[in-house]
Every structure is written in structure tokens, then in C-alpha cells.
């Protein structure tokens, strides 16, 4: 016993000295001899799957020289017997900001910038190893849980610079950094950047995309026109490993798309909700870093409070522990991380929970050891215990995932850090304390350093139990107490621990100074009292609780609807063609298209061949059948910001980058008969962002919502919003309608020159290009050049006649046509000129008086425009109104006397024309997309309700199914709420229920910060 303790002391001292060697000159005699240690008789885990029952590990100067079963202890080695203990490779934390605090925006306003990028959210030049200031406290906490190595980067900005692998050895930074510049890190968050741009996620994506292009262009220049340390660093990084941070599954897929776009090898830090888009996540083929961080349960005892917690949150609480197992089963490669946890206290409890939820236990350990090592190219030195690798290992009492396991020691680079000394014998137990003149019972309780002791006379069970003072120093023990009869008659004992702690003996002194010999002998434990606890690795695996709806919200599909062949019989069909409204008519849809429209359709005629599809017949008597509604102006299903309003021209941003397929408003819109929408950028600046045209294929991921071959569209805006009349500090140009005009000319002249430069380059013969650098790709000007080339179409937010005239003049003089004026509330004043220019009008039915520029807005606008030859539509710009666009269309009958058929076209065919999709959408005729709506009554009547909505022949809304789904959701909610209450009763931490308020975007919402504001509409 003594021998071993002494040996350890020597070991620690020598190691510390050895480690202290550095490139720095030394002023004293060096400890030149190598430190050679052998650990024997351990249950030695070489990696998560290879275990040697009686293994030996030999470490020399912090490096493993041998590990295995038949390993000879080399001569000159110090030997430590680890009988009964386990040895594991130490853990690696792959995603951390260890020792690298983010900056504060206020500190950066006046920072010295040098030759750096114009946007301060790009900080690619930062190297973790240069900035590192290790945090000793955090290092200790990590080591206590078994970590020896962290991969850290400064979590600040969109381009965050490179990470370093840092040993948790409390050494000076040059010694602690095991490897610099491991990977380049990116996020969608601008962090401490004091710049306004980007203010939205699409802006962050656009900035990143341009930066990647610029970095490559910069690196190709023999003599760049300006010096930029950020682009120089970025160019180098893009050839290496890239790590991107996502805060939810949709961001994860966004990153996957971007990495693919630039052919970058990446790792994505996910959010733990990957199970909710499993198929798409798997299909990316990218490795992930997945946090071990489960949401807390909610306080849901009060049924009203419970109501406020959405099904998505309830279900995520239930599913989060299954995430890793589900990913693993699907073949997704991942490392685990403690990122985002409040603390590390229950890390191993959570790990066991994941295993109980089906994660293979070896996989769980690999995900913190060999997997991160492999992903970051560190597997030559870290993540396992093989010759040549760093001596980063753990000494534990049992299996890492066992419930009662104790991580006794964490060895980092050959340095020992003790959490709970295995050689300090546990003293807990009941002893028979023999003081010669009497026998006492001694109870020792507590863990580690915090020991408590009580004594009581053994011969008198009714005697008082008194507290004793117990001190331990190595194997020396001292104990003192006063008998209950006389508090001043303190008995003082000093002695030595023997025999694994079971026997103590020594000398004592009674009051009066009399010495005597005493001993304490531990009583045998009762059977079972020292059970080492359940080994959760062997515990019964819980099955995931039911299917995960797509998307993960209350009205998601657990069984996705499919395309079929359907004949609707005896419907009233609003064809939107010269045929008008047909009564008692059949419509057949097949393979996502309309196959036939006519009376008494015959299956045998429709499908003459031998192979007939399975046809579903729908009796649509009394039903009005129309094509789907097309909303030309919508802001639903957009994630994190609808405006990139920090710049007057933001044509580089793309709504298509930030489509949110989980927005419940997609489903609600379907229930209002909407099948196609144009997702528009907001109206905060004269030239906004590129639109996304989507079909409401509820349940599908973002990419699958986009209409693939649709023409490109872009949002422009005029008037009060762009000149910031009602928002903003007023420092951004333009501040008047005069400025808006000049901004357009400026933009289009730059775009024209840009286009010419690109064209000149493209026309060069290959040999003329030798030694030349191609002109810089500018995504902002590229989009504008597309307008000039007639390849991208403008939807312009507009109100008053002066500005409408102005933009048409700009377009005429620059040689393009404005495609659509949206809102266009004074369009009625200039309808003739609009008709001559050939622009469409997409307006509100009856909005006015919400700002000064709409004081002359009239509900007769649509009728007047329509009656004077302008292709006119009614749009929503509102998530609620979009589900009643049929009612809004009917208002054109009230205000201006438009016929029912023409009124109906205002929300179908006419917007299809604006979107250049009228070859596919907007009418009910053979060959068109089977985007159909079944109405309970004349769709323009207030009584009309949608019974079913089809997109591409798939029934995405069905009133009957919806009713069933309501019951299912209610039952599911109840089940999970009860599980939460049970968890709370078991002592799980909880949080208060809160209302989930969805921010509904409108044109003039500025930036994603807007989301943080409390809405005032309810209270």
C-alpha cells in the first residue's frame, strides 16, 4: 500500500518535470531520463470495441508504447497494478469554444482592423491556437467526465477561423495545443459583428457564398487588387476540413446544400433533432456532430398550461434521447458533443439514456473517442490506446456506461489527474470500534473527501448517537469524539488503515492523557447492499414511441399521401378556359397531371392498354372543382428573416435558401385551397432578394417544395418602406423616392458593365485566357444582369402612381420589362400605362389607410386594372388571408362588378401568368398539373369550404382526414403529457409552459431580431 502511494507521488513529480521541458531555454539540470510506466492487470479497452481482460498498458513520456494482453513490462518501468479496474481511451470533445470567448459587439465597434474583409462577421483569419486562453475550471470539469482533448474554435461570426485540438493538461498553451488549424468553422450567425449586414439567415448564406467565391478568386490572383487577410485565410481553409454549425435540422440541410454547391468536404454540427428529417439527413452522406443535450420536460400538470406547449415540443422531448440510435441505425456517421449543455453533471446519465433508447453502447463510446478522432484526422494519436498514440486514458471502476461507474483518473498526455483516487480505499461502512474499555459502533458515510462518522455504544442500543470528527491523510487516520455522557471527555484516536480499508488500528488518548491501543474492524456487508448497480448496457432497450410525423408538427403525416389515378364525377368544374364553368363534368388525374375533363369519362377509353392503373372514383356531385389557388405574394414558410434590409440592394440573397418546410401555415394554406405560392423577400429595400416558388407539398423537405424548372423572380420595392419612413435610423440611402430612382439606375448600370465584362471573358478563346484571371463573380450584380437579359422577373412592391411610372421609365430606358407590380394600390390611376408596358398587377382586395401612401387605395383597383387590360391578381401578403383568397377574389365582384369567372382567375390563372407558370398551372384542362381543389360550394361564396386539395395529384388536404388527425394529435398530446408528468414525479427537471408564438412575416419586417419582440396584438 505504502509503496504504491509513494510510487505515484514520484511519478507525478517526475512527469510534471518532464512535461515542463520546452523549446524555451532552461536554467537548471534537466530530468533527462524518460518516464516509463506500466499499468497491469486492468480490464483494458484499447478502443470501444476491443477489450483485453487482463491487459497491460505501457506509457513512455506520455506516449503509449504497448497495450494489450501479452505485453512484457519493460525493464526500468514503474509498475501500477490496476486489478479490478478498467482502462479506457479518454474522451474527445469535438465541438467546443474552450478557452476562446466570443467578442462583445461593443468592443468591436472601434477595433483595429488592418487589411481585413469589409464584413466583420467574417473572421476566417482567426486561429484558435493563437487566441487560446485555457480555462482551468472548465478543463477540470471536462476531465472529471473523462475528456482529455477538446477541439475548440472561437464561436463568433459566420466565418469563425480555424480550430485547434487542445489537451486538457493544464500546460502552457504551446504544450497544450496538440494540433492547430484542424478545421475551418462556419455558422449562420454573425455573432459579435457590429455590421448591420447580414440581418437575416438568407443574408448570412449570401455573404458566405460570395466569400467563398471571392476567396477562390482572390487566391487565383497573382496580384490581388487589394489585400484581405480574411479571404487569404479562407482560400487556404477551403482546401481542408470544414465544419458548419446548424441549430436545427433545416439549417443542417441548408448547410449540406451549400457544401455540396462548392464541393467542400464538411462535417455539420447538428442540433439533436435529425430524426425528424432522417431521410434527407442520411442522404447528405455527411458526418455529423450531435449534441448530447436533451430538452427538459415542461410543467404540464395544469391542463391549460399543457395546452400552450406545442406537439412539436412535446414530441421532441420524447424523441431526443432516441436521436443518436436512429441516426446510427440509418448509417449516419456522427460524433457526440456536450455542446449546449447547461453543465456536464448528468452527461453519463444522458449517455446511458441514449443507450437505453437503442444506441449501441460501443457506438456511444466511439462517438466520443475514435469517431471524432477520425473525423478530424487525429486518429493517429487520439481516440484509442495503441502504440504510438497519446497516453490519454481513463481509469474507471467499471464499464463507462455502467450506472455506478466512477471515473477515478483522467490521464492527459501521460499526466495523471485524479478525480477519485482508486487507491484511497473507500472507508464507507459500519465498524466495530474497540477502545479496550468498550465496544462502539462506528458508521462512516459519504463519498471521496467528504466523510462523516457517527459513534454509539454497541452494548446499549438506546444510547445516543454522536458525531465524530474523522480526518484522513493518505493511510493515516484520526478520529475523535466525546461520549454522550460527558461532552468534554473527548477521546482522540490516531491510526493506520490496513487491508483495503477494512481494518484500522493505532494509539489513542483518553481524557487525562492515558494512552491505549484501539482498533476498528469493518463489519461484513449484507448481501446485495454493495450491488454495483444496473449495468445499463444490458438494460432492456426501449422502442421509439410511435412514428415521427413529417414534418414534426401536429398536422404532419405519419403516413404520407401518395399520387394516384382519380376520377372526380359529376362536379361543377371551373375550367378557367374558354369552356367556362362546366356542370356535371368528370375530371381524371393521372401521374400528377390532369388526364381528361369531360362528361361521362370512360376508364377504358382513358387507359386503352392492357395495364390499367388502379382508379379511385370520387363522387363529386354538388362539389365545385377548381385548379389550386396561387398566391403571388406570400411570406409563409420562410426561416429567420424575410428582409435583408441592411443594404439598399440585396439581389444576392435568395428566399430559396431559407424555405422552412415545417411551417404549419403550409398546411393551413392547403386547407384554404392554396397550392402554389411565391415566397417573396420583404420590401425594406429598393432591390430585395430572389423569390422562391414553391408548391405546398406538405411533409416534404425544403428542396422538394421548390418548383424545379420555374423561372427566376426577384422582389423590388418602392415608397415608404424602402425610404424607411416608418422604421430604421435613417442613415441608409435612399431616404426619398428621388433616391430610389437613382439607386435603380446605379444598380442597373453597374450590372450592365458587369455583364459585359463577363461576356467578354466568356467570348475569349482558351489560349487568350492563359495568364488571365477571370472577372470576379458578383452574385448581387449577377442577379441584376439576369433581369437585363430577360432571365429574371421583377415583382415590385409599389403603391403610388409617381413611383409606378418611375420604375416603368427605368425599365424602358434600361431595356427590360417589369413583370409584376405587387400591392400596386394606385394602379387604377395608371392602368393604361401599365397595360402598355405589359406589366401585371397583383393587389389586395380592400386594404388601405395603413400608411400614408395607401390613403388613396380603393377596393375597385383590381376591377379597374382588369377592365383595362392589365393581367390582375389578388394576393395575400398574410398567412391568414391567404387561406381565404377565394373570399378576397369575390370582393372584386362587389367592388367593380367583375364576373365570377374573371374574379376566380384573379387568384389562379392570372397569378400563374405572373409567375410564368401558366403552361402548367391555372386552368383545369388536360396536361396541366393536377393541382386541384374540391369546394363544398361556389368557391366565391362565403359558404365555400375546401373539402380536398391536391398538388401533383397527391391529396395533401382532406377535411375528413383532418378531422381524424385532430383526434390523433389530441391522443398523442395526452400520452406525452402524461409521460412528462411521470418524468417530473421521478425528479426530472422541468420548465414552465409558455405560449409558442409564431412570427408571421410581412413585407416590412426587418431582420430576424424582430422575432425577439413581444407581439402586442393579443395583449
Amino acid at each position: 500500500m505504502m509503496r504504491r502511494s509513494l510510487f505515484l507521488f514520484v511519478l507525478i513529480c517526475t512527469q510534471a518535470l518532464v512535461r515542463a521541458q520546452s523549446l524555451a531555454p532552461t536554467g537548471h539540470v534537466q530530468d533527462a531520463a524518460p518516464v516509463l510506466v506500466a499499468f497491469t492487470n486492468a480490464t483494458l479497452h484499447l478502443d470501444a470495441r476491443t477489450v483485453v481482460p487482463k491487459g497491460t498498458l505501457v506509457v513512455r513520456n506520455g506516449v503509449v508504447v504497448a497495450a494489450g494482453e501479452k505485453v512484457q513490462v519493460p525493464q526500468g518501468a514503474m509498475v501500477r497494478d490496476l486489478q479490478g479496474l478498467h482502462v479506457w481511451p479518454a474522451l474527445i470533445e469535438p465541438y467546443s469554444g474552450f478557452g476562446l470567448a466570443p467578442d462583445k459587439p461593443e468592443d468591436r465597434r472601434n477595433e483595429q482592423r488592418g487589411a481585413h474583409h469589409w464584413n466583420r462577421a467574417l473572421r476566417a483569419e482567426a486561429h484558435a491556437h493563437e487566441l487560446l486562453r485555457p480555462d482551468g475550471k472548465q478543463a477540470g470539469e471536462l476531465r472529471r467526465q473523462g475528456f482529455a482533448l477538446v477541439l475548440t474554435h472561437r464561436m463568433d461570426g459566420i466565418a469563425r477561423g480555424s480550430s485547434a485540438a487542445v489537451l486538457l493538461n493544464d500546460a502552457a498553451v504551446p504544450k497544450a495545443v496538440a494540433r492547430p488549424d484542424l478545421a475551418a468553422h462556419f455558422s449562420f450567425r454573425k455573432g459579435s459583428s457590429p455590421d448591420d449586414y447580414p440581418s437575416s439567415q438568407m443574408g448570412a448564406i449570401a455573404l458566405w457564398r460570395q466569400a467563398v467565391l471571392d476567396a477562390r478568386w482572390y487566391a487565383a490572383q497573382p496580384m490581388p487588387p487589394e489585400t484581405d487577410a480574411v479571404l487569404a485565410a479562407l482560400a487556404l481553409q477551403l482546401n481542408g476540413r470544414v465544419v458548419a454549425e446548424a441549430t436545427d435540422r433545416n439549417e443542417l440541410l441548408r448547410w449540406a446544400g451549400l457544401l455540396n454547391e462548392f464541393k467542400l468536404a464538411g462535417i455539420i454540427k447538428g442540433a439533436g433533432d435529425e430524426y425528424a428529417r432522417l431521410e434527407q439527413v442520411r442522404a447528405t452522406g455527411l458526418p455529423l456532430i450531435v449534441p448530447v443535450n436533451f430538452p427538459e420536460a415542461y410543467d404540464v400538470e395544469d391542463p391549460y398550461d399543457a395546452q400552450e406547449v406545442s406537439y412539436a415540443r412535446l414530441k421532441h422531448w420524447e424523441m431526443a434521447p432516441y436521436n443518436a440510435a436512429i441516426l446510427d441505425t440509418s448509417g449516419v456517421v456522427f460524433a457526440l458533443s456536450t455542446y449546449g449543455r447547461k453543465d456536464l453533471k448528468d452527461l453519463w446519465k444522458d449517455m446511458r439514456r441514449m443507450v437505453a433508447c437503442g444506441l449501441d453502447s460501443a457506438r456511444a463510446i466511439e462517438a466520443f473517442t475514435s469517431e471524432p478522432a477520425r473525423l478530424f484526422g487525429l486518429d493517429d494519436r487520439f481516440g484509442a490506446l495503441r502504440p504510438g498514440m497519446a497516453a490519454n486514458f481513463l481509469i474507471t471502476s467499471g464499464h463507462l456506461l455502467a450506472e455506478r461507474n466512477i471515473i477515478h483518473e483522467t490521464w492527459v498526455d501521460g499526466l495523471r489527474f485524479v478525480n477519485e483516487d482508486p487507491d484511497r480505499t473507500a472507508l464507507k461502512g459500519n465498524y466495530e470500534l474497540n477502545l479496550q474499555d468498550g465496544i462502539w459502533n462506528l458508521e462512516v458515510s459519504g463519498e471521496g473527501e467528504k466523510l462523516e462518522a457517527f459513534v454509539r455504544r454497541a452494548d446499549d442500543p438506546d444510547s445516543l448517537r454522536v458525531k465524530a470528527r474523522l480526518d484522513r491523510s493518505g493511510t493515516i487516520i484520526s478520529l475523535s469524539f466525546a461520549p454522550p455522557s460527558d461532552p468534554r471527555a473527548v477521546i482522540r484516536l490516531s491510526g493506520t488503515i490496513h487491508g483495503g480499508g477494512g481494518l484500522w488500528d493505532g494509539q489513542g488518548q483518553r481524557p487525562g492523557g492515558q494512552w491505549f491501543h484501539w482498533s476498528a474492524l469493518r463489519r461484513a456487508e449484507k448481501n446485495g447492499a454493495r450491488k454495483s448497480g444496473r449495468d445499463s448496457t444490458a438494460a432492456k432497450v426501449q422502442e421509439p414511441p410511435g412514428p415521427v410525423p413529417q414534418p414534426l408538427v401536429g398536422f404532419g403525416w405519419t403516413e404520407a399521401p401518395t399520387q394516384g389515378t382519380v376520377i372526380f364525377r359529376h362536379a361543377t368544374v371551373w375550367t378557367n378556359t374558354a369552356q367556362g364553368i362546366l356542370r356535371n363534368t368528370d375530371v381524371c388525374i393521372h401521374e400528377g397531371r390532369i388526364k381528361a375533363v369531360g362528361q361521362g369519362l370512360d376508364v377504358h377509353v382513358l387507359f386503352p392498354g392492357k395495364k390499367k392503373p388502379e382508379v379511385t372514383e370520387v363522387n363529386a356531385t354538388g362539389i365545385h372543382l377548381t385548379c389550386g389557388i396561387i398566391d403571388e405574394h406570400s411570406h409563409i414558410a420562410i426561416a429567420r428573416g424575410v428582409n435583408e434590409g441592411a443594404m439598399a440592394v440585396s439581389s444576392q440573397v435568395r428566399i430559396g435558401d431559407v424555405v422552412n418546410p415545417d411551417d404549419i401555415n403550409i398546411y393551413r394554406n392547403l386547407a384554404g385551397g392554396v397550392t402554389t405560392v411565391q415566397l417573396l423577400h420583404g420590401s425594406a429595400n429598393p432591390i430585395g432578394g430572389q423569390s422562391a416558388l414553391i408548391k405546398l407539398r406538405w411533409g416534404q423537405a425544403a428542396d422538394s417544395l421548390l418548383i424545379r424548372d420555374a423561372a427566376g423572380h426577384i422582389k423590388f420595392a418602392l415608397g415608404e418602406n424602402v425610404k424607411q419612413s416608418n422604421w430604421g435610423s435613417g442613415s441608409r440611402f435612399p431616404r426619398s423616392r428621388m433616391g430610389v430612382e437613382q439607386q435603380f439606375y446605379e444598380a442597373f448600370h453597374r450590372a450592365r458593365e458587369y455583364d459585359q465584362a463577363q461576356r467578354r471573358w466568356n467570348e475569349l478563346r482558351p489560349r487568350d485566357r492563359i495568364g488571365q484571371v477571370p472577372p470576379r463573380i458578383d452574385l448581387q450584380l449577377e442577379a441584376l444582369a439576369e433581369i437585363l437579359r430577360g432571365e429574371r422577373f421583377i415583382t415590385c412592391h409599389s403603391y403610388v402612381q409617381s413611383e409606378i411610372d418611375m420604375l416603368m421609365h427605368v425599365a424602358d430606358s434600361m431595356g427590360f420589362t417589369v413583370n409584376t407590380f405587387t400591392h400596386i394600390l394606385e394602379g387604377y390611376k395608371v392602368a393604361r400605362k401599365m397595360q402598355q408596358h405589359g406589366v401585371s398587377a397583383s393587389t389586395f382586395s380592400d386594404w388601405w389607410a395603413y400608411k400614408f401612401e395607401v390613403y388613396d387605395a380603393i377596393p375597385y383597383n383590381a376591377a379597374l386594372l382588369h377592365q383595362h387590360g392589365v393581367n390582375t391578381g389578388i394576393n395575400s401578403d398574410d398567412a391568414e388571408m391567404s387561406r381565404r383568397l377565394n373570399q378576397e377574389a369575390a370582393k372584386t365582384m362587389k367592388y367593380g362588378g367583375v364576373s365570377p369567372e374573371e374574379a376566380w382567375k384573379m387568384v389562379t390563372l392570372n397569378p400563374a401568368r405572373m409567375l410564368k407558370l401558366d403552361h402548367r398551372l391555372g386552368t383545369v384542362e388536360p396536361g396541366k398539373d393536377a393541382d386541384l381543389v374540391l369546394w363544398s360550394a361556389d368557391p366565391l361564396s362565403i359558404a365555400a369550404r375546401v373539402e380536398r386539395t391536391y398538388v401533383d395529384g397527391v391529396c395533401y388536404f382532406d377535411r375528413t382526414k383532418d378531422a381524424a388527425q385532430r383526434a390523433t394529435v389530441a391522443a398523442e398530446r395526452d400520452r406525452i403529457v402524461r409521460a412528462m408528468m411521470a418524468a417530473k414525479a421521478d425528479g426530472a427537471p422541468t420548465r414552465k409552459a409558455r405560449r409558442e408564438h409564431q412570427h408571421l412575416w410581412h413585407c416590412d419586417d426587418i431582420g430576424e431580431e424582430e422575432q425577439q419582440h413581444l407581439d402586442h396584438d393579443a395583449h
Binding site: H868, H997, Q998
Partner: protein, 439 residues
């Protein structure tokens, strides 16, 4: 006796002179001189009854006949034939901001709320702009009576009920200072948004408890003050609260969540408030028993809203009227929320939506006529077509609760035939000329 069949536009042109006077507000009508019989149309009484080929007669501003056209025995100076058309009581908007804001984003034109948390003394009536350009656009869709209510932080002020054809607010007033309006402190925080909710902290919860305590203290002070007829010092705030404790004023409380509504009902009861109306009432159907037992009415939030919670039934807002009807709670429809002032003209279509989602058409009509009058405490004078009540009615070419049918061709307020022209029709006529000139 003069028989009118002329198109309303003709009457209008006669009234204004055919010179095309632009951008003028319709001239308020003088008191009823000649007796009028509106006859031959479908009369929707407002109390649930419908009279086909009915007639409504009125003189001196009051209705003196409602029944089948063939039953008319008295003589009338003017007989208006409305065969094929629909006659309704003028629609009544509760909790409206009409006349308090002209242009939402132009601060100078907005008088909906003042500063301070407890401001019952703020009277909307004196800020009501009788010649607002918005008001005529609302009348032309059939809304003739409105409760003009304040907004505000906690207690916003005191509302009044007005009719929508007047030279000034004094003439407009139908019932002065009818109710105090209170926004109940929200029970649930809504920080962040659904994809990224902010964290709840205890501090905020304590803050709410404190707010409720402040509110209670304020009401207790007001009640004590109200017990003294001539106070030692005249307190404007507490004076404005006086009517709550003797029932001469109602307390309108904006609350949507079941917990908030329950709290508000218990609060009003405990503090001796005689008449309580819940405004908003999204969850009112869940606490229907409580509301019914305590005779608490509801002004429902705008039905054309999204569900309040992510997986509520997608059509729940549309079905709220039917749910309250089934449960025996009296209610009317409101239009509060974004663009509430200019959007108020869509009030009849809210009723139409209620009819499409489970309410009978005549019950839907009640929710913007008789029941609205009852909620506002003026059903003895208006809200239905009944002998002795104000002759405030409209004639629509079709179903006035449907966008396609809502064409108000005649409207009377207190027997006065009002001009159905507005800013929009004027601009419509003006620019039609431009376009017809080919410019």
C-alpha cells in the same frame, strides 16, 4: 307620396349635384321629416326571424311597423320598393377604433391610446373623428353603429357608442362613456417565436403577480372612492371607475387564454364589478359554464385569424361562434387586431364565415346586430327591427354577409337616410373617367 325605384347612384348624384364634386365627405343627413316604408324585401329582423316580402315602416326616427308587406295599414310619405333585396338592422361593431385613427402608420393621425398604465379617464368619444374618411367606407358595407374603444397598456380608457352619420362627436354619441377597457395581463409569455422560443424566467412570473396586485389595489381604491358621493379630493382616474360598481358602466376585459378569462371573471366578481364583458375570448368556449353562470358576454376576436396555438384545429377561429352558441354564452363579433380600423368594413363577412362554420345564418346576423346591441347594453334602442326602436337599417341587393351579395343600396340611421358615398367611390368615378379618356 313618392315611389322610389331609382338606382342609389342616381339618388346620390341628385343629392350632390351632378357636377362630380370630389373628395368630399358625405353630408350628414338631417333628422327624419318624412315617414318611410321599406317594403317588398326579405326582412331580417335581427332577432332570428326572417320575413319574406316584408316591410319596415318608420317615422320620427323610430320604427313603427315590422311585418309582412301586405299587413301595412298606415300611410307613409315615402315608399321604397325593395323586392328581391334584403333588409337588415344596421350592423353594430363592438370594440372598434373607428375615428380614432385615420392612417395607421401616421402617428399624428392616431389617437387610440395615451401613456400610463391605468387610464380609465381617457375618453374615446372626444377623439372620435366624425368626418373621418374611413367611416363612410364602413357604412357602405352596412356597419352603422360602433363602440369606439381605446387601446392601451392595462386600463386604456373609457369607450362610447356612436352612430356613424354625424357632424361631430356630440351628435354621433349614442351612449356616452359606456365601458372601461382593460387588457388582462398575459398569463403566458410569448418571447421568441415557435422555432426559437426564448426562455421563461421566474422574474417575469413575479412581475406578473405584481401587476395583478397593482390592478387589484387600483380597483379596491376605486371601489372605496365610489362609496363617497363627494370626495375630499376629486380624482379623475377613480372618478372614471365609479360607474363600474353601480352598473352604469361595463368593464370590457381583453383576455384570450382560459386561465386569463377565469382570472378576469373571478377578479371582477371579487372587486364588485357589476357588468363584465370579455373581449377576445379565444378560449371562452372552454370556460363557457363560468361565463354563463356569471352572465358574462363575449366580444369575440376577429374570426379571420389564425389558430392561437400551432396544432389547434385549423378552422377553430371560424367555429368559435358556433362553439359559444352551443354552450349558451352570449357573444358578438369584433374586428380588433392589425388594421382594425380600415378593415372594420369586413365585419359582415366575419358573420358570414361564422354561418359557414356551424352557426345558422340568422344567428350569425344576430352576432352583429341584436346580440351586439345586448353586449353593449343598448338592445332596448337598437339591434333589431322592432316597433319603438331606432330606425337604423340597411337594404342590400343580396346577402349582406356574403361578399358577392353585400351591396348596400339604402341605409338609415335613426330614420335619417344617409348618403352612401365614400372616398373610394369618388376616386373610382374620377379615375374611371381618366381611363375612359384613354389616359
Amino acid at each position: 307620396m313618392r315611389i322610389e325605384r331609382a338606382l342609389p347612384i342616381l339618388a346620390l348624384l341628385l343629392g350632390l349635384g351632378a357636377t362630380g364634386v370630389m373628395a368630399q365627405q358625405p353630408v350628414p343627413a338631417p333628422a327624419q321629416q318624412r315617414s318611410v316604408l321599406v317594403t317588398g324585401g326579405t326582412v331580417h329582423v335581427g332577432d332570428g326571424r326572417v320575413i319574406d316580402e316584408g316591410a319596415v315602416g318608420f317615422r320620427n326616427g323610430k320604427v313603427d311597423f315590422v311585418g309582412y308587406a301586405y299587413g301595412v295599414t298606415a300611410t307613409y310619405d315615402t315608399i321604397i320598393q325593395v323586392a328581391g333585396k334584403h333588409v337588415y338592422p344596421g350592423f353594430i361593431a363592438a370594440d372598434a377604433t373607428l375615428g380614432l385613427e385615420e392612417i395607421e402608420a401616421v402617428r399624428a393621425s392616431v389617437d387610440k391610446q395615451d401613456i400610463g398604465r391605468f387610464e380609465p379617464e381617457m375618453r374615446t368619444l372626444i377623439a372620435y373623428k366624425a368626418d373621418s374618411r374611413v367611416v363612410p367606407t364602413v357604412r357602405t358595407n352596412g356597419v352603422l353603429i360602433a363602440q369606439i374603444a381605446p387601446r392601451g397598456l392595462v386600463i386604456g380608457g373609457t369607450s362610447s357608442i356612436v352612430q356613424l352619420d354625424a357632424w361631430d362627436w356630440e351628435q354621433a354619441a349614442v351612449k356616452v362613456d359606456d365601458a372601461v377597457h382593460l387588457n388582462w395581463p398575459a398569463a403566458y409569455q410569448r418571447s421568441g417565436w415557435w422555432a426559437e422560443p426564448g426562455e421563461t424566467d421566474n422574474e417575469k412570473r413575479d412581475e406578473r403577480a405584481q401587476r395583478l396586485e397593482e390592478l387589484r389595489t387600483f380597483f379596491r381604491r376605486a371601489k372605496a372612492y365610489a362609496q363617497v358621493k363627494v370626495p375630499e379630493a376629486y380624482d379623475l382616474r377613480l372618478e372614471a371607475m365609479r360607474g363600474l360598481f353601480d352598473g352604469s358602466k361595463a368593464l370590457f376585459v381583453n383576455a384570450n387564454a382560459a386561465k386569463e378569462i377565469t382570472e378576469a371573471v373571478q377578479f371582477a366578481k371579487a372587486e364588485g364589478v357589476k357588468r363584465l364583458v370579455i373581449v377576445g375570448g379565444h378560449d371562452a368556449w372552454r370556460v363557457a359554464d363560468l361565463l354563463r353562470e356569471n352572465k358574462v358576454d363575449v366580444v369575440l376576436r376577429r374570426l379571420h385569424s389564425l389558430p392561437m396555438r400551432p396544432e389547434e384545429d385549423i378552422d377553430l377561429p371560424y367555429r368559435l361562434p358556433a362553439l359559444l352558441k352551443e354552450r349558451g354564452v352570449r357573444f358578438c363579433l369584433g374586428y380588433m387586431g392589425d388594421m382594425e380600423t380600415m378593415g372594420l368594413r369586413n365585419l359582415p363577412f366575419l358573420a358570414g364565415t361564422a354561418a359557414a362554420y356551424g352557426l345558422s345564418p340568422e344567428d350569425a346576423l344576430r352576432s352583429i346586430t341584436l346580440d351586439a346591441a345586448a353586449v353593449l347594453g343598448v338592445d332596448d334602442r337598437m339591434g333589431s327591427l322592432a316597433v319603438g326602436k331606432d330606425a337604423t337599417l340597411i337594404v342590400s341587393a343580396g346577402d349582406a354577409l356574403d361578399m358577392r351579395g353585400n351591396q348596400v343600396v339604402h341605409a338609415f340611421i335613426q330614420g335619417r337616410r344617409i348618403v352612401l358615398d365614400d372616398h373610394h367611390q369618388q376616386l373610382y368615378r374620377m379615375y374611371k373617367q381618366r381611363l375612359e379618356q384613354g389616359q
